[in-house]
């Protein structure tokens, strides 16, 4: 195992896993406390549309997926504000339509035979330097936003009606959280893939929520737990030659089971 660390692609994989874990821990905490898990799932799946478009027009995959996912996030934020009672319908719709667009545009791309499975289930061993920069910058942006607006985000997440009464722009922060979720989903595609990302955004967060007594603590603990799970998952993946994304998710789920077995708190 140790000798594997000298390979550049393994180093990239480990660094990517850690960067994405912390981004997912912070954003996953916001997604869970705001009860946006299904929303995030919809955004994640619809981002496949962006991948299809990027393939068709020859754009960088990250760029296409980011633009499409952010578009879906803004659309869903808007729908949540004005069609609240039907939001689950719209999430399902955007979820499926986004994927359908992706599939069709990949079909329409002549001679394209790259394995699309890697976007669905992750390809952490193929992380490039550019991917790492993108992940690092996103984590930086997330940490800046959280630091700068922590009290507003906390108030909106805990009690949005009260926050609105105190003059906080709830719609702005709601949309901001969804946009950051969209971007986090896009960087996590490399690590676990867009279908499995939702587990990475929720399993560590669920454990951290039980062990934390502040949102800030929960965010960093989630990031730490996600990073540990990711590294263990990668080790499994490397040792037994298994798909990395699925390994990470199953390790996370198994350890969640162990945690629940021994955790006798509330």
């Amino acid at each position: 195992m140790i000798e594997a660390l000298q390979f550049g692609f393994i180093q990239h994989a480990l660094l990517a896993g850690i960067l994405v874990s912390f981004a997912a821990g912070v954003i996953g905490s916001l997604i869970v406390v705001n009860r946006m898990v299904f929303l995030a799932g919809g955004i994640a799946h619809s981002s496949y549309g962006g991948i299809g478009l990027a393939v068709f027009f020859g754009l960088p995959i990250f760029l296409g997926a980011s633009i499409f996912a952010v578009g879906a996030a803004v659309l869903l934020a808007f729908l949540t504000m004005y069609k609240r009672h039907r939001i689950d319908t719209f999430i399902g719709l955007i979820w499926a339509v986004g994927m359908a667009i992706g599939v069709i545009f990949v079909d329409l791309t002549p001679g394209y035979n790259v394995d699309m499975m890697s976007y669905l289930f992750g390809s952490i061993l193929a992380v490039s330097s550019a991917d790492l920069y993108f992940m690092g910058i996103l984590l930086g942006v997330i940490l800046f936003v959280i630091t700068f607006w922590y009290r507003d985000i906390l108030a909106v997440s805990y009690d949005s009606e009260y926050a609105a009464l105190r003059g906080v722009n709830v719609k702005f922060f709601y949309t901001l959280i969804l946009i950051l979720s969209a971007l986090t989903v896009v960087v996590a595609i490399k690590v676990v893939g867009l279908i499995l990302v939702i587990a990475m955004l929720t399993i560590p967060v669920y454990i951290a929520e039980k062990l934390s007594n502040s949102l800030l603590g929960m965010m960093f603990l989630s990031g730490l737990i996600a990073a540990i799970f990711t590294l263990i998952g990668l080790w499994f993946s490397y040792t037994y030659n298994l798909t990395s994304g699925a390994s990470i998710i199953l390790v996370s789920a198994a350890l969640l089971g162990v945690f629940l077995l021994f955790y006798r708190g509330k």
């Binding site: 406390v33 959280i146 630091t147 700068f148 607006w149 922590y150 009290r151 507003d152 906390l154 108030a155 997440s157 805990y158 009690d159 009606e161 009260y162 926050a163 609105a164 009464l165 105190r166 003059g167 906080v168 929520e209 934390s212 007594n213 502040s214 949102l215 800030l216 603590g217 929960m218 509330k266």
Partner: protein, 282 residues
């Protein structure tokens, strides 16, 4: 100056009116109970006062201005404090949310803000729980924290939506005693199903069921307590006001002396329409 002035207010979500021709004037240091049946428009009225909804007809003024202009003078305690109890947040952080509108970015709060929040917590007798997780408190304790959060912003009027709906009898009494104490310096408005509020603590009552009937009940409290039949107010009438109990025994005798009007400026001694009005509004 009045705390709240509502004139000729009507409101509808769709086409059916929820509130019609509401007039309400709340004075300084009033303790107003807003009562009425479910779906009668109590919460809608509250949201209008808080500026969360905008009316198409009529005016609402809070300290002489539109509600959204004077939000800082209103302290609000929401109805259900039992949601989000898994949220990892300490009591002190919940109270500090009272300051959230103030612009002071970067996480962490100013020393003055923390001192103010602790002051608000001690006002409601919860300072010992400042570092506890909100989910570990009982319903009554959580309600106190929410009141502290509202007090933290130094409001001139405190508005509570069903503050005791999820609290046991002992806790309810404690909450109302606390409100009574706070009422010495600020105006209190409580939306409640709980008739004991009206009997014991409120000095004004507004029954909302599409329309609003306003009552000054400050002088009648003793009468309620003693069940003094020679008094000029029928307790059953009050229950009818809540829409809870039909009155048959005091129908005839009390109609001439009860004070029921659809406006705000009725006085107690004024013999007016009588109970039939209650029935109409039900």
């Amino acid at each position: 100056m009045s705390v709240i002035d509502i004139e000729d207010l009507s409101f509808a979500y769709d086409s059916d009116p929820v509130l019609e021709n509401i007039n309400l004037h709340v004075q300084k240091r009033d303790f107003l109970a807003i009562i009425g049946p479910n779906g009668g428009g109590k919460s809608t009225l509250l949201k209008l006062i808080l500026g969360l909804l905008k009316s198409k007809k009529g005016t609402i003024k809070v300290f002489g201005k539109a509600p959204s202009k004077n939000l800082s003078l209103i302290g609000y305690v929401p109805q259900n404090t039992n949601v989000n109890t898994d949220f990892p947040i300490k009591v002190i952080e919940v109270v500090l949310m009272g300051h959230v509108g103030n612009k002071n970015p970067l996480f962490g709060y100013g020393k003055d803000e923390i001192a103010c929040a602790m002051g608000a917590l001690s006002q409601v007798g919860m300072q010992a729980f400042a570092q506890s997780k909100i989910g570990s408190l009982s319903g009554g304790q959580r309600q106190r924290v929410m009141i502290a959060r509202a007090l933290c912003a130094h409001p001139k009027v405190l508005i509570l939506d069903e503050p005791t709906s999820s609290i046991d009898i002992k806790g309810q009494k404690e909450i109302y005693e606390l409100l009574k104490l706070l009422n010495q310096s600020i105006t209190i408005i409580v939306v409640s199903h709980d008739i004991s509020v009206i009997l014991e603590y409120a000095n004004k009552a507004a029954h909302v069921n599409k329309q609003l009937s306003f009552h000054d009940i400050s002088d009648k409290k003793k009468t309620f307590h003693t069940h003094d039949n020679t008094g000029h107010f029928c307790e059953i009438e009050l229950l009818q006001m809540l829409g809870a109990v039909e009155c048959s025994s005091c129908d005839a005798s009390d109609t001439s002396t009860s004070s029921v009007t659809n406006t705000n400026n009725n006085s107690l001694s004024e013999p007016v329409e009588g109970k039939s009005k209650w029935r109409e509004t039900k």
